[in-house]
Every structure is written in C-alpha cells, then in structure tokens.
Symmetry: D3
Subunit: 317 residues, 6 copies
C-alpha cells in the first residue's frame, strides 16, 4: 500500500551560478522540481512510501526527471508519450535588492493532456493520502477536470486528500484560480494556503487565525494550514495551533513550501498530531533552505532533532 | 555597408560534460548556435562586417543570444517579441560507437512568424552577400515564403546570394525539402550542399564532380560547393576545384560545416578566388573543430597560416 | 517477480580529474561502483527488474550508495548496520605509458559479516537469475560461505545462476581463488571469465575456445563465456559462438566487464539466444566505455541499434 | 551620434574562488574591468549608445577585452599596438576581518602612450557626454596631458563632461592627484567624488553637503556628486539632493562606484532630473553588487522598478 | 634548530560543495587537516620553523598529506609504513538550523601504532616548543603512552610544552579523557581548553576566569588559555588577560581553534607577551575563518595589521 | 649537501580549459613552471635533494611560486624584492591543425637583475650538480653574466655542470644565442640540445649522431644529449647511446623536455650509467605528458617500472 500519492508536473530547473545573470549565462546547474514531486520527495525521505503521477515524453530528458525521483525513493507512475517536451524553468538567483527570478518554459508538456482515465486510479484508491497543488489544475482545462476527478475518486475511496493553493500569477488570474479551486474544495480534507494567496485568491480577511477559521467554516475542511513565511504557520484543526519558523542561513529557498507540506503530511501519516506535524513541516522547510535544489533531502533523525531541540549551527564531532 | 547578411534561427545549446548522459545530467555548458549566425560569426572573425536577422522574445534568454553575437562582432538585427520562447537544443557528446546526440526543443520560437516585411530589407539590399541555410525555410510555411522573398529581394538588388542545403530530417521530409529548396534556387548564386544531402534530397547521382556539375547545369548556379566531410570539398565554378580536409584533433564538431561556409564567403568577399576560398573554408572548419561551441572564433592570421603551411600541432615559443 | 538478483560489495569511487595525480589531488568526482551492482544497473537500464543485496552502514555515505542504485532503477536489498564503513576506492586515470591506478580502501565494511541468513533468500528463490562475481567470496571467509549458500539456494530453487571470476590480485592469491571458486562451480550455470584469469587462476591452457570448452567439460557449466578485451568474447553453449568487440573512443573503461555481463544477462532474460546475448554484452560494454563512472547507463534502443548496425560516430539530427 | 564616450584603461581581472588565497591559487575567474569601460557598460545596458576609447596590444588578450565590451553593447574605439601588454589585476575576495585585496599588474600597457591625436576626437565632439576617471591621468604624464586635451576638446564642442576622482593610492600621491585633477576641473561639468577622496585629495572639510557645495563654488561645477558608500550620495546641482543607498546582499562590490556613475549618466542622458539620476545611480550600483564581475549587467526595467518600489528579495513567479 | 614540533594524526578532508548533502554528493573538495599539523601550518606561515611528526602509509594518499604540509613550509617527520590507510573525514557544510556535520573515517591509520622510539626525539629535544592536542592520546592506548613520553622528553629537555584539550566525543568518553589528560598535565606548561570542555571533561566550575585560575592552581600550569568561541579568550599567566574575538564573515570555521593556538604560539616564540599572543591567536583564527580548508594560510603582515588596527572589510587599492 | 642546484626564472602559467580560446577565456587553470625549476621538481620527485635559485617579488604571487616548489620538495633559494612582478605565461592548448599557443608576459621580473653575488654560491659549490637552461642567459645581459659566473664557480669547485640549450625565438636571435651560449660551454660538462636547436643555433650538420659527436669534439663536453621528440634521444658519452621515446596519450606536453633532463640527472646522481639515465629521462618525460602542468610529479617506482617493462596502459587491481 502506498502512503502518499501526488499528481502534477515536474520540470528541469536550470540555474546559473550565483552572481551570474541569465542574460550572460555560461553554465546551468540542473535540478528537478515540481510542487507535487517535491512534496513526495520530502515525504519519501521521511520514510513514507510515496508515488508521483504525471506524464513525460519518452526522451532522455523525460528519463532525467524519472531518474531524479527514483533516486529519492519516490515511485514514478508515468504515462510516457511520443510527443511533447519536458518543461523547464530558469532560475536566476538573486539577493537584495533583487530577488530570485523565475522564467518558466513549460509549454507543450504532455501532462496537460492527461485525462482521468490516464491516471492509475487503483493506486490512488489504495493510498493513505492524496495530494495535489493548485498548479496542476492551472495548467489546462483538461487538468482542471482531471484533478477534480482525482480528488473525487480519492475522497470516495476514503483516502485523505490535501491541496496546497500555491497560486502562480504567471499561469492564471486570481478569479480563474478561485473559481476552479473552490470547485475542488468539497473533495479536500486538508488545505494549505499562503496567507497572501488566501487574501488575493480566496478573498479572506482578518488575521491569520481568522483566515484559517473562515476557510474551515466556509468549506468544511478538516484542517486548514495558513503559511506565513518567516512568521511561521498556523493551523485550524479542531483547535488553533501556531508554529514559528526556524531561522535559516538560506542557500536556496525554492521548494521550501513544498517541503513544509511534505514534512507535515509525513508526520501525519506516521500518526503524529497536527501541532507536531506543523513542527515537522517547519523543520523540513528550514532544512530544505540549506540545500541546493527544489528537493528536501532530509534525514528523519535530523528533522526529529530539530523539532526537539531547535536550531544548532555548530560542528558536531 | 554590410559585407554579409544572414537570416535564420539561433538557439541556446545545452550540453552536459563529455561522458555524462542527458538522462543523468547535472550541469549544462551553454553555447549559442544557429547555422546562419554561425556563418556570420566565422565571417566576422575573419574581418567581414556581418549582420544576422532574426526574431527573439524580449527575455533574459533572448538577450543571451544577442550578447553572444555582439561579442563576436556580428550585428544583431532582431525583431523583439512579447511572446514565444528561445529555442534550445540539447547536445550529448559521444564518441565511437555512439555519435553526438542532438535533441531539439525549438518549438514556439518567434522567428517562425517573421513575414518579409519584418526583415530589414534595406540592409539586405545594401549588403555584398546574403546567406541563408535550408533550415530556415524548413521551420514554418511562413518562413519558406519569407526566405523566398529575402533571396529574391537580394538578387534583384544585385546582392550575391548563397544557400547551404543543410538538410535536417527532424524538421521535414526529403520531398518537402526538395520542393521548397528548388523553388529558392532561381535566386541563389552559390549553393553549398553535403554530398549526402545532394543524393537524398536533390536526387543527384554520380561522383561528387558529377553532382556539382549536374546541379550547376540544372539550376544555373554560378558556384556549387559539394562538401564531403573528411574527404574534403569540391566546387564547380567555371572549372572544377578540389580541396582536401585538414586532419584535426576534434574537440567539438558541431558547427564546422557553417565555419566552412563562413570561411569561404569571407575570403570571397575579400576578393579571393574560388579555390583559395575553398582552402579558407576548409581551414576555418578545421580550426572550429578544435574549439568548444558552435562558433568559429578564428584569427585571420592563423587561418591564413594554415592555408599557406598546412597543419602544425607543435608548440610555438 | 524479480528478473535478476545480485550480491556483493559496492563502494564509493573517488577519482581526480584526468591529468591530476592522487598525490596532488584537489578534488574528487564521486561515483558508485561494485561488480554486482554494476551488472544489476546495466540489466535494469535494459529493462530487467533487478535487485542487489548487500550490507551498508546506516550513514550518509551508505545512503549515497543506495541513492545511486535506486536512481538507476535497481532495488537495494540492504542490511543496515550500526558499525563499519563504506568502502572507497581511488581511481587515478592514466593513459599510455601508465594505466589506470586503483587504490582500494575497502576494509571494515559490513558486507564482510553477512551470513546466509542475513540475505533475503526468499527473494532469491523467486528470481529468474542470480549473479555474483568472484570478488564477493574473496572479501572474507564468511562471504565465501555465504556466497556458496546463496548459489546453492538459487540452484536448488531452479534459479539460473551466473558467476564472473573477476580475479583481484589485491584480495587473494590465485591458489586461494581457485580453491574457493571451484567449490562454487557446481551451483553455477553460466561462467564468465577473462581469458587471462582462466589461465592464471583456473590453470586453463590452449586457445580461447579450448579454454571455454575445457571449463564447460570439467565443471559441467551450461555456458562458459571467455572475455578477451579488444579481441572480443567467445562462448561455449552447445556450440561455439564468437563475438568481436566494438571499437570505442574510451572515456572511462572501468566497469565495462560488468556491463558486458549485464548486457548479456539482460538479453538472455529477455529470451535472446546466446550469440545475440554476446552481441548485447559487447554493445553494452562498448557504450559503457563512452561514459564516466562504473555504470552502464544505456538506453535499450541504442544497444539494439548498435547490435543491428554497428558503430556510428556521426551526429544524428 | 554617440550618447556617451569614455576614455581609460581596461584590464583583465583574475580572481580566485572565494575562500582561496592568491598565494595558493589554483584557478582564476576572468573578468574584464576598468573604471571608464565599466561606466560605459552600465550606460549601454541602460540603453545609451556608448563607446570607449583606449589602446590595446594586438594579441589574443587584447581581443579578450574588446570581446567583453562588444558583448555588452559598448563600441570599442581601440588603437591597436604591436608592443606592450594587457594590464591585469588580481583580486582576492575577502570578508571581515580582511577586505578585498587588489594586486595591480598594469605596467607597460599601451594606453599610457596615447597622445591626444591618437584619440577619435571627431567622435568625442559628436557625443552627448564625455566621461573620464581620475585613474586615467594618473597612469602617465602623457595621459595627464591627453586627458586634459580630451576634456578641453569635448567642452569646446559643447559636449557635457564628467569626471570621477577615483583616487588610487597605488598610482600616485594625494598631492600629485590634486595638482593634476584640479588642472582638469575647468573643463568638467559634473564631478563625482567619494567623500573620503574629497577630504584626502581635495582638502575639503565639513559634512558632505559642505564638501559638495564647497567644490561647486570653488571650481564652478554644474554638478557635484559626493558618494558615501552605505550612507548613500549627495548632489549639489542648483539645490542639494540626497539619495540613500539600497541594502544589498553583496556578491561582488568591485565596480559598484562605476555602476553608480553609469546609472546616473544614463538617466541624465535620457532626460532625467538630477535627483532621479541619483536614484538610478544608486539602484544600478546596488544591482551591480549582486553580480560577479566589474560590470553592471542591469536590465532597464529592473532598475526602474527598484527606483520606483525599493528592494524586493522574494521570488517572482 | 626547530621552533615548534607537533605530533598527531592528519587526514584528508573530503567536503561536498556548500548546499550539497553527503548522501547525494557528486564531488569532493580535498583538503588536508589535523589539529597538530594545523597548528604547525599557522605557525609556519607566521615565520616559525615548524615540524610535524606522524606516521603515514607509503601510498599516493600518504604523499598527498606530506605534499600539503611541505607546501606550507612545515617539515614532515614521517614514519612511512607498508600497511594501514590514510584517515579521511567527510565534512558536510551546513548553516542554521543545521550545523557542520563531520563523519570520521579514521580507523586503521598507522599513527596509532607509533611507539615513543618511533618519534624523532632528538629533534624534539632540540625544539623551542612542543605541542600536542588531546586528540592524539585519544586515538589508541599506544598513543596515550607515546604522547606521555613525548611530553616528558620535551619537558626534561627544557622544551616548553603546550596541550590543547580539544575533546572529541566520537573518540572517547569524558571520563577516559579526564583520566588520560590529567596524567599528561605534569609535563605541560601551557594548557589550551575550550570553556565547554573545561566544564564537561575537567569538571571546572565558575566563570571563565575561575576556570582558568582553578586549572592553573590545581595543575601548576604556567599558562592556561580558556577559549570561548565568539566570546573571545581569557588567559591566566601571572595575571588575567582577556581577548575579544574578531567579527568574521565565515567561509569555513573548521580549524580556527588550531589557528588560534598556532598564532598564539608563533607570537610567543617570537618573544611576544601573553596578551599580545592572545591577540595574534584571535587574529589568526579570525583570518582562518575567511579561507577554505583547515589551514591558516595567513601572512604575517596582515595578522599584525589586524592586531594593530582591528577589522577592515573594504577594498585596498 | 644538495644533490642538484638549478638557476632560472619561474612563472605562473595561466591556461584556459581545453577547447577555449584566450580571446574568449572565462577561467584559467594556474600552474607554476620554469625550465630550471621543472628540472629540479623532476629530480626531487625521484629522490634527489634539489634546490632552485631565483628572485621573486615579495607578493602573494611570489609566494604562490615558492609554495608550489616547496610542495614538490624543492628548496627555494629566493632573493625577495620590493619591486618587479611575477612573470606569467598564457597557454592556449590546441590540437591539430593548430598547436599549443604560448603568450609570454615575463617583463619586469626581478630575476633579470640578479648579479652573481646575489646567488647562494656557497650552496652551489657544495652541490653535486648544477643545472641551467639557455633561457636564463637570454633574459638580460646581467643574467648572461651571472649565468657565466655561476657555471664557472661550480666548475671550479668540481661540481658537475649541465646546460640545456632550450632556444626560445621570442627571447633572442639564433646569433645572439650562439654567441652567448658558446661562451658558457667551457664550463659545461653535459650539454642537452634539441636536434632542431643544434642545427639552427649551433650550426650543426649531419645526422643526430654526427651532431652529438661534433659538439662533443668541438667543445670538449663530457656528455652531449641530443633530443629528438618522438624519435627519442641520442647521447655521446665515450660511446654512442640511443634511446627510443615511449608512446604516450598526451594530456599536456609542456615541460616534458625538462622532465627528460630531470630524470636523466636524477639517475646519474643516483649512480646510474648514461644509457640507463637516458631511459630514466625518456620515462620521466613520457609520464610528464600524462599530467596537467609543467611539473613531472612522478613516483620513483613507476619510472623504474616503465624503464624495466615498457608501457602498460591497463588497470592494475
């Protein structure tokens, strides 16, 4: 039985060395990333039997993506296609006063064509938890429909479902996102949403607690987790639970939100409480920020130690 | 006045280090290449005032292409667009028993939409020579039409024109290529064609001399240059001229055909004879093979010395 | 059901850049290699469901080994230990007139302690083929015994078994190797042996065919494959089958023998004949030599094409 | 017509990786830098038609310098010589408690011999703005004279002139600098000076405003800009204008002063007011600090956005 | 005559690039480090004639260690062995919230077998100062005995002796350390101890001054230096002397404690007072933190300038 | 007592990665090389107590040179100066049809000013062998005189002397070289000369044996070694001795001539015969070609094995 099944697009990430601009780039580091595979990777590294569904062209670059996920212990459930390309995104690392610049080149990817029947729904029904981010339904009308069917199938089979809003302004408008995502909410048990997205996409008001409570009330979620960057996270699940963020010396912030979700879900799947899972999420996200690439290659013991003892930073010898 | 104007698509080339597979790639070297810009670069490095026409999206990656060409002394005549992407191609370097593997990812590039009126035709009319490869008309029906108008415009203005057949089986069939290219031939003064392409695309028969003579007769070219890889090249221009290839320790073969054309055209524009231009072409191509990247960053003196003295390989101190 | 199960030690390989000596080394490339995991990797890349049994310390470096194999699609069946270290070997690449220099640092590795009952024997009994090299029994008396029990268990369960002699003079004497290995032979169906090892370890005489035939006769092997480096390979299996080696531009020769075995076994498991399997082995080995690292990251289509068409070396575009 | 013409020496900059000392260096990153070409590069990237005058030996290294500037869109107006060398400077990056260490190796460079008649004075007369730093006249007596003639020629032709004091203690004494530079002041419209240099070289006293006002009064400058590092900049131009510095995560501070001047001049040439130009200068300098190398490879939109909105630091997607 | 002789184990340090985990490592930077050789290197770079005693296997990796120390001007006094291996340690660089992770792989090293008579005791007797850290006696019972004999020999010959407690929990318990180290104290003139180790290993109580004074009283040390990380250091030598730590932009903290000792001892050997030597120690340690690797490749002038003027951080040109 | 003392200039060598041109270089590998220090390095690696005399500026780059030689076990006998620079040379690696390109930047180096009294003549008198190449007297008139005095001093003290003609056309004419070098010959015991230099500089005629015999006769050398590249070497010393060159897979040919001399001299100093020393020279030169950099970091055992057994090229495990 699979602990966690996720569904979404995964891309090659091409980033120049720090301090080099895309407009002058001489070399790219290659990483593999996508919200849903990132969540699966974090969970797999924390001991959860994880799988990721998607489509890829049957090329060396498609194989590159699968190679990365297999290496992390995530089972790839891939529909291989003869056409289409592997999506890429270019990441120029910055620092104040400019931030990270992301240039997406994700057109013509085969995942956009996946219909519900293309998914391994038997595997989904057999899982403990099913996760998808708001990016997947944003990619095409087909995927909006497929995502809805996926969540419905899982919910009908008694599989706990989770959705991370993860709004991307380069993919759709806030209006389109609201319409599509709220249509998915009836099949979602746990909602993750950045406070900023809750306001701009879901029209929430009030402080973070009010946002979480309002969403839980309005849509009947079992759990709502509002993430607030350096201000930590807050969950409404029966009661209100707050979690501070850990201070980090950040090497690469990309993927830390996905690491949070992966750490949270892994601990929940392992039987942990919501407040403990929030701590696992925060710790996994913090550790992710010290690593290059989108993936949280964490070790269960170090996450547990960070949760237990707080930050370190010294030399252990 | 511009010596040479070329027109075509230029891409980012992404290649893993030698010995690393695309399916496992951790890092890419970034080069900039395209048949027509490669020809312009070779000519510019040999002292010809060169320009390259194309379209690019107005992004950091579009700027990356222009930066590379400006750095080589080629004037970019670019139509900047708000949509589309920069084409890329992935090059896995091999060695016997596998060769170089090229994976094109050149969809949705803005050059495909360029109409004749988008081109700087005044600059074309004011040039000494206009060059295009058979790749350009293969990219879209629009470009087939635009290429025809470009060559016609140049020819009408008395600008010498050159075409390199450069057949790409991943872009079109031999039948489609033959139909389109032979439609361009009436406006072409000098034709470059690999012996293999002459047979498969243009249905030529006989030995290389027969091929060249036949093409010259059939289509009325002033010059036909048949390239034959390690077997050298042969031209029919009034008389028949043969040129051996130089032996090389090859670091990177990509772009050596373009370097041949660039070296040939540069020497012709400098007033050289056809046989001397063949030697310049062969020398430029040989030197290109000792350099990473698609571009022939040659020095006029070293090309001249190689033409005069043949190969060296020692240490000059 | 698993297609292929292998059993042995896998190490980190640390190699300086070409042209740099170990005695002056500033940086190491890290690869993962071991004869039995290399065989499993080649087979897995050719589509065989492959697993590898071993023991590793439960450290970041042990995880490094497992990460590499998982990434190649090999299932690691690992006994994790609290003590011991990950073996390493240092490879200084040379060229004439010095060769590759290998410095082993493989002491105190936990695989040496593995008893038969530590192995997943149920998985072995359920496999199609079981493979081990002569390195495994050379590592410790315990492993000599465990290897014997492994092969016996497989044979008793009707699983086809294969052994590659792979003599390592740094691990044992030819006398010790002969005594131990011949004790394993009764449980072995297919023997792979370098012609040189056949002479020095197994006291064979005559030409390669005589060697193979003699071994088949003396020990009752179903198949004997004698490998001869650039001279190709020869098998006795009912009849005599010869296979030439492909010419290669070698980037890294390490692991090509294992690639041969993996390619051979994969094609046999896929239902191929012995002569065809020899061709697959030779092609897989040749392709391996064009890649950095011990692993044959081949693509089934390119191996099949090489078998069908022989070497290429051009650019496919 | 050229927007900006600058005149000075440009060198190769050789820097070890961060954390490596020059006394143990194994590899150098190569950049190209010089105060006047840096100013031209910043302006060119901001859309100004820019040129740079200098002399270089006709070698591969001289070509390296020209290649870099052409790539940035700066027109090199170079006197090529048969003798002399390309200046180099070695930069060891530090961090507290040691700073950046610069070792100049700029002897025997041909720019030192340039007489006024060697300069393309017609191009200078035809420009909108002429810029030189105090480094140029420090390099040789000949250059002190040539610089004077250059500024005089520009001023006589109605070209606005600018000078950045840029005192280098390794090139001359404060007394020598004062004598030479004040001799140039009558032909200078806009003076840039670090507050520290104003005190040590130009004997200014009082706070930054007093310094600027005093210089404007004493020498009749139209504009005096006093730069104060992290404390920002202050200009006296009719009125007093203050500009804060942006906070930065600095990757490479070298060249940020030149970026300030380039950003300022570009915005003035674009018709901006002095206070707006100060903001452009500060923004260009801040962005430069996030990039490796001496050159401010900025994008007009990002500079404008930084001026408008202040610092960011997030991820834009 | 030798100024400083040290005795201990030196290893290869293998560290992935920052941001990469050991469990996913693709490449290692190679450095050479060991507490006692680090001290010798710092002292040698500050002008002290320094030697280091140890044992190494006669392999390319043993030669690698010696090469590094010779290059720093330290004389290696090495017993070469036919067996054993070079110790390695793996360093994963972290940042908050995880620290540096050190994985030792130092088993089977020949230094563990060194008996007193294997040491060049005549050279020790002829030195000005003899230094050892608490790591050396922790490595084996033999080394505990050899270290005792070394210090006794030095003390008997009137050579000043120094010991840095340098407790390593991965090598021994605090009880074992206390018993062995206090047995060495009668032959030690100057003791260096981290405040944390003084409490956990030596059962000291009270503030740093009380710790230092108590140790001096209890064991009769001429000098006790208590190091306190960012809080600086405190010495009791006749009087009490305090020294603040310098603020640093840390590139690599490993080895800064050894650099402190080396800087202190070098200045004492040069005739400096204890408070001045503390300042030299703090400055050497601070500079070390700005360099990659375990070694303090400092320049005497920069240490003196830092002691005299405090931190800088600007650009000197 | 020192076995070998050499005297000459040593430079930093800056080379781009293979396939990159100096005119486009982005990064340099840094090596340290000079004919006389290369000879000392080869000899030191073969066990000879070696020293090298020169002058260097007291800068980080001067220290870089000394660091490299100390690391190889060569004792630097350096006159440190307050002025001048470290010479550099730029090496662009090529392959057919272009060779290696060397750009020297060796002006203003302090070694040019060294007078005989600046040399450690007592050390020279105390050595077994004194070596200098023809480059040293070519650098300045002062050095021509100093070299003469050095050789005379050595010869008068009974120290065996050796000179390698090593003609550099970029430093002097053949006429100037002949005049100066023949003036040194009376103090030289062993002459090394490339056959090509013997003809162009020393006006020799006939085959290699005639050249060697003629030089021995004309100038009374005890030994004349004529080197002939791939054709090997020939010595006249009492009798005529011929030595073939080993076949190599060349990584870097620079410095192989110096390695030949160093290997020869080391074996002679070790008591070997002239024919054996020729074999050691050829083996050391061949091994050098498999390493990056100017220095022959050979191991005595591998040189001896190559001399004994001839080339290998396999994997030793």
């Amino acid at each position: 039985m699979t602990g966690l099944v996720t569904f979404g697009e995964t891309m090659l990430r091409l980033s120049p060395p720090r301090g080099q601009r895309l407009s002058r780039v001489d070399g790219f580091d290659v990483h593999v990333g996508g919200a849903e595979s990132n969540v699966a990777v974090a969970a797999a590294n924390l001991g959860v039997d994880s799988a990721w569904c998607s489509a890829l062209p049957d090329t060396a670059l498609g194989e590159r993506v699968v190679h990365a996920l297999r290496g992390e212990g995530v089972e790839p459930l891939v529909t291989w296609t003869d056409t289409g390309r592997v999506g890429t995104y270019y990441l120029e690392r910055g620092g104040r006063p400019r931030g990270q610049t992301v240039v997406y080149d994700r057109g013509e990817t085969p995942v956009r064509e996946l219909a519900p029947d293309d998914l391994p729904l038997a595997r989904v029904r057999d899982a403990d938890r099913c996760f998808v981010s708001g990016i997947t339904p944003a990619l095409s009308d087909q995927l909006a429909e497929t995502t809805a069917r996926l969540l419905e199938t899982a919910a009908d089979a008694g599989v706990a479902t989770a959705l991370d809003v993860n709004y991307r302004s380069k993919l759709w408008t806030t209006d389109a996102a609201r319409e599509t995502l709220t249509g998915l909410f009836p099949h979602v048990d746990a909602l993750f949403v950045a406070e900023r997205d809750a306001r701009s996409v879901l029209d929430c008001e009030g402080d973070a607690e009010a946002v979480a409570a309002g969403l839980a009330d309005d849509y009947g979620f079992e759990t709502v987790v509002v993430t607030r960057g350096e201000a930590g996270a807050l969950a409404v699940h029966d009661a209100v639970h707050e979690q501070a963020a850990f201070e980090t010396d950040t090497v690469d912030p990309v993927g830390s939100g996905d690491a949070f979700v992966g750490g949270y879900l892994a601990h929940r799947l392992d039987g942990g409480t919501v407040p403990d899972a929030l701590a696992y999420g925060a710790a996994t996200a913090a550790l992710k920020r010290t690593m290059e690439g989108d993936m949280a290659r964490v070790i269960p013991d170090e996450v547990a130690a960070l949760v237990a003892d707080g930050e370190d930073g010294g030399i252990d010898r």
